[in-house]
């Protein structure tokens, strides 16, 4: 069963200009008609078609201005499409910055009622859910204090708590994962997961690619109002990363780099699979960096930097402080990693050729390293390990750490 269907939906916005200056005597009605047919326009969405099955979780990603919010607004009836058709089966709730409906003078409790009914609940339903909402928000006794005295965190938490207790067939979520502290974010993610497991259809718009991958069955990439990619989340998020990050050139503009030694190519290969195909956590990996040296040089340091999607440096591969000597011509550096310690995800790659303190070449975001699930990992990184069992009362030796290691690493291979 299909819950949501977009059929060739387009949305055109007229861009207002100073409109009454030219015709000061235009009547209100004339002005209205004129406004409606005004020329300068902008297509927020153009011929978008897709379907969402019942119980499916669809993620929508795209740059700012790609049309995500417009899409959500049309889904939630806030605005109508200029052409095309939207079919929705079941009742639908949109959680778009829910705390915007709060009135500062009202208490938390009064605001829960107000917002609950705004989102289509009856007063009785709100009353039944109130204890759950208060508990989820963790606001406690502050529930009877006017919300103008709340901290911004409490404000948002109460907002999401209301949202989390709506019980729609179809749930629209827009960037609400950026709510509160980390613990509360997890609570929110869990709640969404719960709704998902309960068979609700979910549409999630987010810049948080990890959340999209974790929560969604399928994803759509929007660009300039059109669907450019649709499929399983990991593929679509990778596509998104490519489209955003690979185009952006080095912040240290290439003009200032001498390029005496150039980095020409970055590639990697895992234990299984071909070049540049995803590697797996716990496997070994080889990273190769091709270079072109215009003259022979000493002390050249090659670096590979891996960044989280958020832009933070995750780790670095380097030829070492003192560097290597390179002859004129082309060559390649191979970095051999016995264990990929990275947890599954996407990593953005910078490569550089340096001769401290000079940076000769720096390729900003020149590739994406994709790590898939291998050895199971919870947390930030994978620590290579083996587990051995010794039972009390049996013939065994006390675990002696150095000899154990020797055995593990010499005896094994």
């Amino acid at each position: 069963m299909v819950d949501i269907e977009f059929r060739h939906v387009s949305k055109r916005y007229a861009i207002p200009k100073a409109r009454f200056r030219q015709q000061p005597r235009a009547s209100l009605w004339h002005g209205w008609r004129k406004w409606a047919s005004h020329k300068p326009e902008f297509w927020a969405l153009r011929d978008v078609s897709f379907k969402v099955e019942h119980g499916e979780a669809l993620g929508i990603i795209g740059h700012n201005g790609a049309g995500k919010s417009t899409l959500l607004k049309m889904l939630s009836h806030i605005t109508a499409p200029s052409s095309g058709e939207i079919i929705i089966r079941g009742n639908l709730s949109a959680l778009i910055e829910i705390s915007t409906g709060f009135h500062p003078e009202l208490t938390g409790r009064e605001n829960v009622y107000l917002n609950g009914v705004i989102f289509g609940m009856t007063r009785r339903e709100v009353g039944e859910k109130l204890p759950g909402i208060i508990e989820f928000s963790g606001i406690g006794d502050f529930i009877d204090v006017p919300v103008k005295q709340y901290s911004s965190g409490m404000y948002l938490r109460l907002g999401f708590a209301i949202a989390a207790h709506l019980d729609p067939d179809i749930l629209l979520l827009d960037e609400i994962l950026a709510v509160g502290d980390v613990a509360f974010q997890w609570k929110c993610l869990d709640r969404i997961e719960q709704l998902r497991k309960a068979g609700r259809t979910i549409l999630l718009v987010s810049h948080d690619l990890a959340a999209i991958e974790r929560l969604c069955d399928r994803a759509i990439l929007l660009s300039r109002g059109q669907i450019v990619c649709e499929g399983i989340p990991s593929v679509v998020t990778a596509e998104y990363q490519h489209s955003t990050l690979l185009i952006s050139d080095s912040p240290a503009s290439s003009a200032t780099l001498s390029r005496t030694v150039e980095c020409t190519k970055f590639s990697y290969r895992g234990e299984t699979g071909a070049e540049d195909e995803p590697v797996r956590t716990g496997d070994c990996m080889m990273v190769r960096l091709n270079y072109l040296a215009h003259t022979a040089l000493d002390n050249v340091v090659f670096n590979v930097y891996l960044y989280w999607p958020s832009g933070y440096l995750c780790t670095q591969l380097s030829t070492g402080q003192s560097g290597t000597s390179v002859a004129k011509g082309t060559g390649q550096i191979e970095f051999l990693c016995p264990f990929v310690n990275l947890r599954p995800g996407l990593y953005l790659v910078d490569v550089s050729a340096e001769r401290p303190p000079e940076v000769m070449d720096w390729r900003h975001r020149c590739a994406i390293l994709r790590v898939d699930a291998g050895s199971s990992v919870l947390g930030d990184f994978y620590m290579p390990h083996e587990a051995r069992l010794f039972q009390d009362g049996r013939a065994s030796r006390p675990p002696e750490i150095v000899s154990s290691f020797n055995e593990l690493y010499s005896g094994g291979s």
Binding site: L28, K73, A80, G101, L106, V117, I118, G120, R123
Partner: protein, 261 residues
């Protein structure tokens, strides 16, 4: 189509209720006099008009004390004027909601209309005390006040559906409104009696639906008069046509509010 809209509205009736109560409660938050303002406001108006129109200028009042005469018309008029000023800006002042959540948009202007109705009922209590003080007795005809107020509510609803939607596109509406209300009040028998309107103007004068409403209300509560059928019936016909037309139009343009607000 109309039926569908009304079903939706009924589904959201709790929102209308909560918003109306909220309007009434919020108005006097952080004020010392609180709800007393709902009574003080019309009472002070009556005092001012009484001083002007019975001390400075003598206005014929059909033998009634001027305070009662003015108050009986100011009650429906204040309902109308408060409802208009609140509801007209009702959509625009909730733009944050219009951009985020869907609910039948007419609930916003309607909640102001009903809040004004509640204020009207409070002030009516004060008026009843004033009647007792002056020893004016009422007859069964006082019940004619009910259809008068019903007509007024319908009229106000229709008008505010128009003005609030226009205000979304043209903020001129809100700016012009106080002036329009001022002129309108003087085109309605509030501070003077209907009898003092020149006969040759009456034909056009009666097209103002507020004439039938205010006159019926005053007649019913002060003089125990039954309604003038043509006057009240005419007002009701105009009000109902306006309300239905305005509602259909409102639902038609509703989908564009979020784009232009």
């Amino acid at each position: 189509m109309l039926r569908q809209h009304l079903t939706r509205l009924v589904q959201f009736r709790d929102l209308l209720y909560v918003l109306t109560v909220h309007r009434i409660n919020i108005r006097y938050k952080q004020s010392i006099l609180g709800y007393c303002w709902a009574i003080l406001h019309p009472a002070l108006l009556v005092l001012i008009y009484t001083v002007i129109f019975s001390r400075f200028v003598r206005v014929p009042t059909d033998g009634m004390p001027y305070a009662l005469f003015a108050f009986s018309a100011l009650l429906p008029w204040t309902f109308f004027s408060n409802g208009m000023s609140g509801a007209t800006i009702g959509l625009v002042s909730h733009s944050h909601l219009l951009l985020k959540v869907y609910f039948p948009r007419e609930i916003l202007p309607l909640s102001y209309v009903f809040a004004a109705l509640a204020d009207f009922l409070t002030a009516s209590g004060v008026f009843a005390l004033l009647m007792l003080y002056y020893g004016v007795s009422v007859t069964i005809n006082v019940l004619w006040a009910i259809p008068a107020i019903l007509t007024l509510t319908v009229f106000l609803t229709g008008l505010t559906l128009l003005t609030s939607a226009f205000q979304v596109r043209f903020r001129d509406v809100g700016v012009a409104l106080p002036l329009v209300l001022q002129v309108w009040m003087f085109a309605t028998p509030v501070v003077y009696s209907l009898a003092s309107v020149p006969a040759k103007l009456r034909f056009w004068y009666d097209f103002n639906p507020m004439v039938g409403i205010v006159e019926t209300f005053r007649g019913a509560v002060l003089h125990g008069a039954s309604a003038n059928w043509t006057l009240l019936g005419g007002s009701f016909a105009i009000s109902l046509t306006l309300a239905v037309g305005a509602y259909i139009w409102f639902k038609h343009v509703e989908a564009t509010f979020a784009d232009i607000i």
